[in-house]
């Protein structure tokens, strides 16, 4: 296969990947209520309108709380599992790790309805917390994937060397392991924050009277006159995602560099 043909194909493919996303800012700044070409002119009015929607602010607040707590919970759970799988050998490890990673492939609607059933049966009311639990479940495997690559790159004798030089197991973890996996931990926090912020299905099923941002957006998609505002909101959200993911990637690479490893690319 010729490299040039492949390169052209690859560039077309990237255009296909980016096309929808690139339309978002185009219509966000378009001075017209109909989302279609030709464009009418430049305006920032839709962004200005965002400031004056209390329901949106409330949804944003809910989403930020959920995403922050989810990020912390799933990263903590991820650290435990990643550490266990990279440092220890124990019978049934593959099965246990496989089970923990299942939410990665399980359709989100299954996760959503099954959690819904249990929560309602237990008589618990739906709230921000039910969304947090669901999001933590689906974010944890991503955190494990990121953290495992941080942990597995560590030479086991680094920890032993610290103990040999007089540290305890706990202080060796704090002085040697933790600094080396910190970039991975921050990357895991950012990624799970981003996933939670964007996630719709689980939030849709498990949110009570406190909608998240995607649930709010979903409710607005039915009203054509609201669409330009949603486009403006989407533009800001995508910008936020880009900043978060960009920082996560930079941290991941810096972490690799710091511990003297080679870059194998990508998060997953």
């Amino acid at each position: 296969m010729s490299g040039r043909v492949l390169r052209i194909y690859a560039i077309l493919y990237l255009v296909f990947l980016y096309l929808p996303v690139l339309l978002l800012p185009v219509f966000a700044f378009n001075d017209g209520t109909i989302i279609a070409f030709p464009l009418n002119g430049f305006t920032t009015a839709w962004f200005a309108e965002l400031v004056a929607i209390p329901a949106l602010h409330e949804a944003l607040g809910n989403s930020l709380i959920i995403a922050t707590v989810t990020a912390m919970l799933s990263t903590t759970l991820g650290v435990f599992a990643a550490r266990a799988s990279t440092r220890f050998q124990f019978p049934g490890k593959a099965g246990i790790m496989g089970f923990i990673m299942v939410p990665l492939v399980l359709p989100e609607i299954i996760v959503a309805v099954s959690l819904l059933v249990v929560l309602l049966q237990l008589g618990l009311s739906l709230s921000i917390w039910s969304v947090i639990l669901g999001h933590t479940l689906i974010c944890t495997p991503f955190c494990i994937a990121i953290l495992s690559s941080s942990f597995s790159g560590l030479d086991r004798s680094l920890e032993e060397a610290a103990i040999d030089l007089g540290e305890t197991r706990l202080s060796a973890f704090r002085l040697v392991i933790l600094p080396l996996v910190t970039p991975g931990i921050i990357a895991a926090l950012l990624i799970s924050f981003t996933i939670s912020l964007d996630e719709f299905i689980i939030a849709f099923f498990l949110t009570g009277t406190e909608p998240t941002l995607p649930v709010y957006i979903w409710s607005q998609l039915r009203f054509p006159q609201k669409l330009p505002v949603i486009m403006a909101l989407g533009t800001l959200l995508i910008l936020l995602s880009l900043i978060l993911i960009g920082s996560a990637e930079m941290l991941r690479r810096r972490g690799l560099h710091k511990s003297g490893q080679k870059d194998a690319g990508g998060f997953l």
Partner: protein
């Protein structure tokens, strides 16, 4: 030996059903350069890590400096280790690596710690490298940092786990003599794990050769080479040719060589071993014990030539190494010659 620094008695260790250390007993003296030599999987690293406190054992006893080490964790033992991978902390500078173990020393202030670190670096020839980032070091430099980091704590015993295996040949030879010099200079016990017999022979005061979790022989390098206790040891260290033999009435009949006095305690069929330098190609008119042989193969190494020769009347091949010189001709395969040998050069093993 004076009072031993390390005394290991009847140590047994299992990994599940795998018997990693089989009744290991050894005493190592203060200031000794001691090597654990053996093929991979023989238990030498396990024994080293047991001394360091990273491995537990099922039964037996381990004492260091008269103190029983059962239940004493690695961070409380008077030993420090140079790891095979060196385990240099990549997020710390050279000085921070070297000073790592001094963190908990309450009796030293910051200046004293810095001075100690600098001294340790100077000792391993890395004067002024303190501010370098650890991940920017070469293999040889990492090894020196690992040494300085362990020695700065003034351990009673320095444990070295195959410290030279990651270096290239030239660097390895240089570090061998440096390590030896360093050990003599500071006078503490070094325990070296290696699979490289030359390394063990050139550096050690004594060597323990291990096979399958057991110490097969414990001896000084010269004795180990010239008087191997078992055929396994003889084959692992250097080259040895083996000839079938039969001992009767205190006389040994060795195939191709004839009869000679047998060592005590042997009788019946056995094996006689001879090192390549224990035989030589006899010059014309030489006397002493001589054996007729035919050259089968020769390999020229510049300073040496090694031959394989078939002893007359046998199928047995022996290996002979001869120093080359202006007056020495390299013999072609097929040449009929005579081999000079000495009864002292023969070692007998039970068959």
């Amino acid at each position: 030996m004076t009072k031993p620094l390390i005394s290991i008695a009847n140590l047994q260790k299992y990994y599940g059903s795998y018997h990693a250390l089989r009744d290991v007993s050894v005493e190592i003296g203060p200031g000794e350069f001691f090597s654990l030599l053996g093929p991979s999987g023989c238990g030498k690293t396990t024994l080293l890590r047991t001394i360091a406190g990273f491995e537990s054992y099922e039964s037996g006893a381990l004492q260091i400096d008269g103190r029983d080490m059962a239940g004493v964790p690695a961070n409380k033992r008077p030993t420090n280790m140079v790891f095979q991978s060196y385990a240099i902390f990549p997020h710390l500078s050279v000085a921070e690596n070297v000073g790592f173990g001094l963190r908990r020393r309450g009796d030293l202030d910051a200046a004293a710690k810095a001075r100690r670190g600098a001294e340790a670096l100077a000792m391993v020839g890395l004067d002024g490298y303190g501010d370098r980032a650890a991940h920017a070091l070469s293999g040889g430099q990492r090894q020196r940092v690992a040494l300085a980091r362990a020695l700065v704590l003034e351990p009673k015993v320095l444990l070295l786990d195959e410290p030279l295996s990651a270096l290239d040949k030239k660097m390895r030879e240089q570090m061998q003599s440096e390590l030896r010099r360093l050990q003599r200079h500071i006078g503490i016990t070094f325990i070296l794990v290696t699979h490289d017999q030359e390394e063990a022979l050139t550096m050690s005061d004594r060597i323990a050769v291990m096979f399958e979790g057991r110490i097969a022989q414990l001896a000084a390098p010269q004795e180990l080479y010239s008087r191997p206790a078992t055929r396994d040891v003889a084959e692992f260290i250097g080259t040895m040719s083996f000839l079938s033999a039969e001992v009767r009435d205190g006389r040994a009949e060795v195939a191709g060589l004839g009869t000679m006095p047998a060592p005590d305690g042997l009788s019946g069929p056995c094996v006689a071993g001879v090192r390549p330098e224990g035989m030589s190609i006899a010059e014309a008119g030489a006397d002493g014990p001589l054996a007729a042989a035919e050259i089968v193969e020769s390999a020229y190494f510049g300073d040496m030539t090694t031959y394989r020769a078939r002893l007359a009347g046998t199928e047995a091949l022996v290996e002979i190494s001869m120093k080359n010189g202006p007056a020495v001709a390299v013999l072609e395969p097929g040449t009929q010659t005579r081999l000079h040998w000495s009864p002292d050069a023969l070692v007998f093993f039970p068959a």
